[in-house]
């Protein structure tokens, strides 16, 4: 089985590059048998969809791909488990059921080789709860079989910028594949960096996802979703 790691990337010559350097090293240490492919998009607004598809194309022939954000890590044994599970069906497996966006300080401590003492970033001052940790994330680190990738046609490239392209991908996996699962009792860590600014693209992407999410509830979801996605210039193979 050939497993590859697909990473959407755009250099910022700053913190994100530094994080990716560490994440890449982490991958090479923990998963030396998996080749890493960076995907790029040179458009005026970075498209995560295009970059992920670009990485998948560059990887050539593969059986399972780990779709990984360049600022996120998953527990190595859990990720291996996700890859094995993904290879056995057209189910998307996410390598953890919890995502924690680390604080800058605990990110730095881990990245600089200090003691791991992860804690989430930010908080809601009103009730003391924290919004940087949540269950069933829609991206970060996940494993997909080639069969499922081909069925859903990869990511929808007409979705510009970032935001909701991951949910459209998940929803497509639900409609055209066996669904989406999270490896239980596992956490993924997102290393802190300045947030990207939301643009009008995010709002447009949200509408696309809501539309597809509504279609997913139809009895003839596959047919309707296929037509809808084709109207966006995206081809599925079912």
């Amino acid at each position: 089985m050939r497993c590859v790691v697909l990473v959407p990337r755009r250099a910022d010559h700053g913190r994100r590059d530094m994080i990716w350097k560490h994440v890449r090293k982490w991958l090479q240490q923990n998963h030396p048998e998996w080749e890493i492919f960076e995907g790029h998009d040179d458009g005026p607004v970075f498209s995560l969809s295009k970059a992920r598809n670009d990485a998948a194309r560059k990887a050539g022939s593969w059986d399972v791909a780990v779709i990984l954000d360049s600022d996120t890590i998953a527990e190595p044994e859990v990720l291996k488990d996700a890859v094995i599970r993904a290879s056995m069906s057209t189910r998307l497996w996410i390598a953890g059921d919890i995502r924690m966006c680390l604080s800058q300080k605990s990110s730095d401590q881990i990245l600089h080789g200090g003691l791991w003492f992860p804690r989430p970033d930010g908080h809601l001052p009103k009730n003391g709860a924290n919004e940087s940790i949540y269950g069933e994330p829609s991206s970060s680190v996940m494993a997909v079989s080639r069969e499922l990738w081909d069925k859903v046609g990869g990511y929808v490239e007409s979705m510009q910028g970032y935001g909701y392209e991951d949910l459209v991908f998940l929803t497509s996996c639900n409609i055209f594949g066996d669904g989406v699962s999270w490896i239980p009792d596992s956490i993924m860590y997102h290393f802190w960096h300045e947030k990207s600014r939301l643009t009008d693209d995010t709002e447009r992407n949200y509408k696309i996802w809501k539309q597809l999410d509504g279609i997913a509830r139809n009895q003839n979801a596959r047919q309707v979703a296929k037509i809808y996605l084709e109207s966006l210039g995206h081809t599925v193979n079912v």
Binding site: S103, Q109, W116, F117, P118, N130, G135, D185
Partner: protein, 239 residues
């Protein structure tokens, strides 16, 4: 640097807690070996955390006290920084901003891998998500206080049983010792079966009434002082 000691309210109970305390004690030795650790069980009867801490504090003449629960670990760097902060400025300092109640598998992972990579998760309460298990500016688990600050609030308040004493102490420090400081770090509560206080228990109702009274009187320190004196917890007069 002033003399530092760790004080731990600790009474042997069920085996899991004893195992956790053994781990925490080793952790403290590993990262803060220069600080002696003093435990005390408190009086017989329901566990009285305040009395246990007063007993433990009496065992040492240290100028800086690290009040540390037997089921908590802090980022060692932040705990050291909190001690330095109290050494420099007095008062009280929590060695964390985020206090996380870990789940059982994460706790067990940390116990078996005290150094290394930790992929650890908070407990999830299904009705509230992480709201109750990832707490911002929590006031329990560990705190560093100067002996002077502790004296200024009359020592630890001794209630019947436990519960509410942490928030009462925090309010007293806020009122009589010019506030608290928090380090930008994390601390973990290590999982053990929870002992829930019965909210209908008379002592629990009384303790929470004291907390409510203390909080409502805190804007008027003289009234709060008078209230506490009547309740058997005298606070020294301001000089």
């Amino acid at each position: 640097m002033s003399k530092v000691a760790v004080i731990v309210p600790w009474r042997p109970s069920e085996p899991r807690r004893a195992t956790l305390w053994a781990f925490v004690r080793d952790w403290l030795r590993r990262y803060h070996g220069a600080w002696p650790v003093h435990t005390a069980p408190g009086p017989d009867g329901p566990f009285n955390r305040g009395a246990a801490l007063n007993q433990a504090a009496a065992k040492t003449d240290a100028d800086i006290l690290v009040i540390h629960d037997a089921d908590t670990i802090c980022d060692p760097l932040q705990l050291s920084r909190a001690v330095t902060w109290v050494n420099n400025y007095g008062g009280i300092c929590y060695p964390y901003e985020t206090y996380t109640y870990l789940d059982q598998p994460s706790t067990d992972w940390i116990r078996s891998h005290p150094t290394g990579t930790w992929f650890v998760s908070p407990e999830v309460h299904h009705t509230q998500g992480f709201r109750t298990t990832v707490r911002h500016k929590h006031v329990s688990g560990a705190v560093v206080v100067s002996r002077q600050a502790l004296a200024a609030v009359g020592g630890f308040i001794e209630l019947q049983g436990w519960g509410a004493e942490d928030m009462i102490m925090h309010t007293l420090f806020e009122t009589f010792v010019a506030g608290a400081n928090w380090m930008q770090g994390g601390a973990y509560h290590l999982w053990h079966p929870a002992i829930r206080n019965d909210p209908n228990d008379a002592s629990q109702i009384a303790n929470h009434q004291i907390l409510a009274d203390v909080m409502s009187l805190s804007p008027v320190p003289d009234q709060l002082r008078s209230y506490l004196r009547q309740g058997g917890h005298p606070i020294p007069d301001e000089r």
